[in-house]
């Protein structure tokens, strides 16, 4: 599609976008395929910046005539607003880039029937091997986002970013209580790239079942502050929720506590935290962004380096307002959405410690493994649900704990980080819900720190 001929002349800043979101959901519940669905949502959008305000218009009609109408409407929206708020001519910064990044699988396409067969094999494995379960659920979710974006400052991109995951949920009725445990595997890539043989998923199921059995004897966590090891998934969500959001520049401009901390120590000096654009250690991250939705070249944003808060994540407007460099963090979920400052792949850089040594160093505390959900505050106060965790006494892993919540002030917690493991793990299934749902990558090593536990 040739969008360039449609760019209006003389505008301060204009974006044009055509986007398609394609998804598929397959869901087995106790042997019945209760979901077998496909979805396609596409459309066009234009956004313009005039006299310090934005006008945006969008339509599902992707014809050239519709695009012309949408551009006209975006311009008139900006004009309408600028009657109430006219800041004069403001120049948005620009590091425009051009490129095509299409991550279609090179493998033979897998049909819907074959995916259902794959899921059916997982369901049968669980039903045959673990008949004591009260409920089993296995599902596939695949999403593909394809975008063409053109900006009048020279940005041009065509991307197709896929994600495919398999979820496994196991439930057991035990002495009048329902126990639940689940995991999600996969991430960046189409189904063909991530899943080739159901048998490769069987060890994940066996591990899940074993951990579910641990929950039969689970005890309540004790309320209070304890030495804990947060495994990679929890450390990843901590990076995203509790630190990442406070350092998004729109949050900073909205009063986030991180606005007070630039170039100051905010964490243990062994800790470095980065929002990666697209690659780490030579590998593609779960949510690769080479050019953002404002046509800006995406760069890694080192948020905390050796314990010092070094930078915020930006879109064009926040970089202009704060006089900082662009980072390429502007992203939108659907064709009709405005790009917001969003994290891409947030991670704590691995350290030098071994996970076993970290656990062994705890006299009385917890090893916390998986998170059910998380929320954080502009103060960096956070809350995460813990789905799986264990007591640690005298350096040894003990009983599983019942689902609980951990909380604290992230910038305080990070100052207590005393050990960081030398491995790392990505969670590629994450969705962040800041006004619009969007895929995010969260990763990192395990960290040892002091954590406030909810409990009895």
């Amino acid at each position: 599609m040739s969008l360039s001929s449609l760019l209006p002349a003389g505008a301060e800043y204009v974006e044009l976008k055509q986007q398609e979101n394609r998804s598929q959901g397959l869901n087995y519940l106790n042997g019945t395929l209760v979901q077998n669905s496909n979805s396609f949502s596409g459309g066009i959008m234009s956004r313009t910046f005039t006299n310090g305000v934005w006008g945006l218009a969008s339509s599902a009609d992707m014809s050239t005539a519709s695009m012309q109408k949408v551009i006209k409407k975006a311009v008139s929206n900006a004009k309408l607003l600028s009657r109430s708020v006219n800041k004069g001519k403001l120049i948005l910064p620009s590091t425009a880039a051009q490129g095509e990044y299409l991550f279609y699988s090179k493998k033979t396409p897998v049909s819907t029937a074959e995916k259902i067969e794959f899921l059916g094999a997982l369901d049968k494995y669980i039903a045959d091997k673990y008949p004591d379960l009260s409920t089993r659920r296995v599902f596939v979710q695949q999403q593909e986002t394809e975008k063409y974006i053109l900006t009048n400052d020279g940005g041009a991109m065509h991307t197709m970013t896929p994600k495919s995951v398999i979820g496994i949920v196991l439930m057991l009725n035990h002495q009048g209580e329902s126990l639940i445990h689940y995991d999600i595997i996969g991430g960046f890539g189409q189904f063909e790239d991530n899943f080739s043989d159901p048998a490769l998923c069987f060890p994940v199921i066996d591990k899940l079942y074993s951990e579910l059995m641990d929950k039969k004897d689970a005890v309540f966590a004790r309320a209070g502050t304890f030495d804990c090891v947060l495994d990679a998934k929890l450390a990843g969500i901590l990076s995203h929720e509790a630190i990442g959001h406070t350092t998004e520049a729109d949050f900073v401009l909205g009063g986030s506590i991180a606005g007070e901390y630039l170039d100051q120590p905010v964490a243990s000096e062994i800790l470095t935290l980065i929002d990666l654009a697209h690659s780490w250690d030579g590998k593609t991250c779960p949510v690769p962004v080479f050019i953002d939705d404002e046509g800006t070249e995406a760069k890694d944003c080192v948020i905390i380096q050796d314990g010092i808060l070094k930078s915020y994540m930006h879109n064009k407007e926040s970089a202009m307002l704060l006089g900082h460099e662009l980072t390429g963090n502007a992203r939108a979920y659907s064709y009709s959405d405005e790009p917001l400052i969003r994290m891409r792949n947030t991670m704590i850089v691995p350290g030098k410690d071994k996970l076993q040594d970290m656990i062994a160093s705890i006299e009385d505390g917890y090893y916390l493994i998986s998170s059910s959900n998380g929320q954080a505050d502009a103060t960096s106060e956070f809350m995460f649900g813990v789905g799986l965790g264990y007591e640690v006494k005298n350096g040894k892993i003990g009983k599983a704990i019942k689902e609980t919540t951990i909380s604290g002030v992230a910038f305080d917690l990070l100052k207590t980080v005393s050990m960081i493991s030398d491995d790392m793990q990505w969670t590629g299934s994450g969705m962040c819900g800041k006004k619009q749902l969007i895929s995010v990558g969260m990763g990192g090593p395990a960290i040892k720190c002091k954590v406030n536990m909810g409990g009895k």
């Binding site: 209760v34 396609f40 708020v85 009725n173 329902s178 995460f384 689902e403 909810g454």
Partner: protein
């Protein structure tokens, strides 16, 4: 519909909808973005040999629709059969219309200008973003049992997120979202918003509770509604019944929650701005008590769940709800608390299947001997969700109308409250 049946569907259903939205955004405390969205969607569902599949698309040209039908009919062949799959039975055609006929753009700008001006003047320490939008939706539901429904709904939606900063100290953020049928009142005067702004202004200085204790929590409407909706979903709705994890699987007519609590499904209640005349599974919506004085009257489940678990489908899934107000004022509630917390927001994880959960009490106040003492920091509650709604001491006469739900303050007892 005809094409689906010609391609072999035994039963078919479709939703066709078109919507438009004009969204005025306040960013960094000033009008910043006007966003116009036009969208449409077509959702097709088929049942063939008791196997089901569905697809949705938003391109309506003949080629796209034909491709979607081809894909759908291929997908349904790969499904497995379940006798529980079905569509709603024949019902008389109906057309519904609700809400303002058209957007009053000048009024939107006026209300937002007024809001931002008042915020800067009355609450100078508060940082805020907000949006006010006009949303218009027209939907059609048709199925092969000759059901033919149409509904047109329109409403205004307002949302704001805010935090305060003073002398280098800052509060937690708070937020509220609601829908409105009109813009007759200044936004700050709706749903206690001015009081929430006053509270956030004084929450830049907080203190921990003196010690861990077991006491009362007064749940603000936003918090109580969220907790009760979670409880209903987990134990009375489809997820709890289909996964055999409901604690109340055979409890129609039995007391399940505190007798002070009455919860009604109110899909077309005149007080609500955001109504539903048609259910997701293709029935006419109807009002009913779900919980009446603590007694379970209906499981809010859809047709598939009802068939699957062998229960009658009565009211469908819960979208709009009203909790009956009590007779105690909020100030009398506070006065009755020996030691407790007024919880204006809570950040909590999903309860486990038994209802055990803990959460952080945000924007909240310590209560001692009947008086609000100070805003608190880093305080957690550990409760069981079923117990919460079985330990109700009082329900307030004041309510908050969020547009799809009306909810009072609820005072509960015996909650474990702990400090860092």
């Amino acid at each position: 519909m005809r094409a689906l049946q010609e391609r072999g569907a035994d039963k078919a259903a479709l939703w066709l909808s078109g919507s438009s939205s004009e969204e005025f955004n306040v960013v960094y405390q000033e009008l910043n973005l006007l966003r116009s969205v036009e969208s449409q969607s077509l959702n097709l569902g088929v049942i063939k040999d008791q196997r089901q599949a569905n697809t949705s698309l938003n391109q309506f040209d003949e080629q796209s629709v034909q491709a979607a039908i081809d894909e759908l009919m291929t997908a349904v062949e790969s499904s497995n059969a379940d006798p529980a799959f079905d569509i709603s039975p024949k019902q008389a055609p109906q057309v519904f219309s609700d809400g303002p006929r058209q957007m009053d753009a000048d009024k939107i700008v006026q209300r937002l200008d007024e809001f931002t001006t008042a915020m800067k003047q009355d609450f100078p320490d508060v940082f805020f973003d907000a949006f006010l939008s006009f949303n218009l939706n027209t939907s059609y539901y048709l199925n092969s049992n000759e059901v033919d429904f149409e509904q047109r709904t329109a409403y205004y939606a307002f949302s704001t997120k805010f935090t305060a900063k003073k002398d280098g100290k800052m509060s937690s953020f708070n937020y509220i979202s609601f829908t409105l049928a009109d813009l007759d009142k200044p936004l700050l005067e709706v749903n206690f918003l001015r009081e929430l702004m006053r509270q956030i202004s004084e929450q830049t200085t907080t203190s921990p509770i003196p010690k861990n204790f077991c006491g009362d929590i007064i749940l603000a409407p936003y918090v109580g509604a969220s907790l009760l909706y979670t409880l209903i979903s987990q134990h009375f709705g489809s997820s709890g019944l289909l996964t055999d994890s409901s604690r109340f699987p055979e409890h129609i007519g039995k007391k399940v929650l505190d007798e002070k609590l009455s919860l009604y499904a109110t899909p077309t209640d005149e007080r609500l701005a955001d109504k539903s005349f048609i259910t997701d599974d293709g029935y006419l919506s109807k009002a009913a008590a779900i919980i009446e004085k603590g007694v379970l009257r209906h499981y809010p489940i859809n047709l598939y769940t009802a068939n699957k678990v062998g229960k009658p489908r009565t009211i469908g899934q819960l979208n709009q709800m009203v909790v009956e107000a009590g007779s105690t004022t909020l100030s009398d509630m506070i006065a009755s608390v020996k030691e407790g917390v007024l919880c204006m927001r809570a950040s909590f994880g999903s309860p486990n299947p038994n209802g055990d959960m803990s959460g952080v009490l945000k924007n909240s106040y310590y209560i001692k001997d009947g008086k609000l003492v100070y805003p608190i920091s880093e305080t957690m509650m550990s409760v069981n969700l079923v117990d919460v709604f079985n330990r109700i001491k009082n329900i307030s006469s004041e309510t908050m109308n969020l547009g799809s739900c009306i909810f009072p303050y609820i005072q509960i007892g015996d909650a474990d409250i702990s400090r860092k």
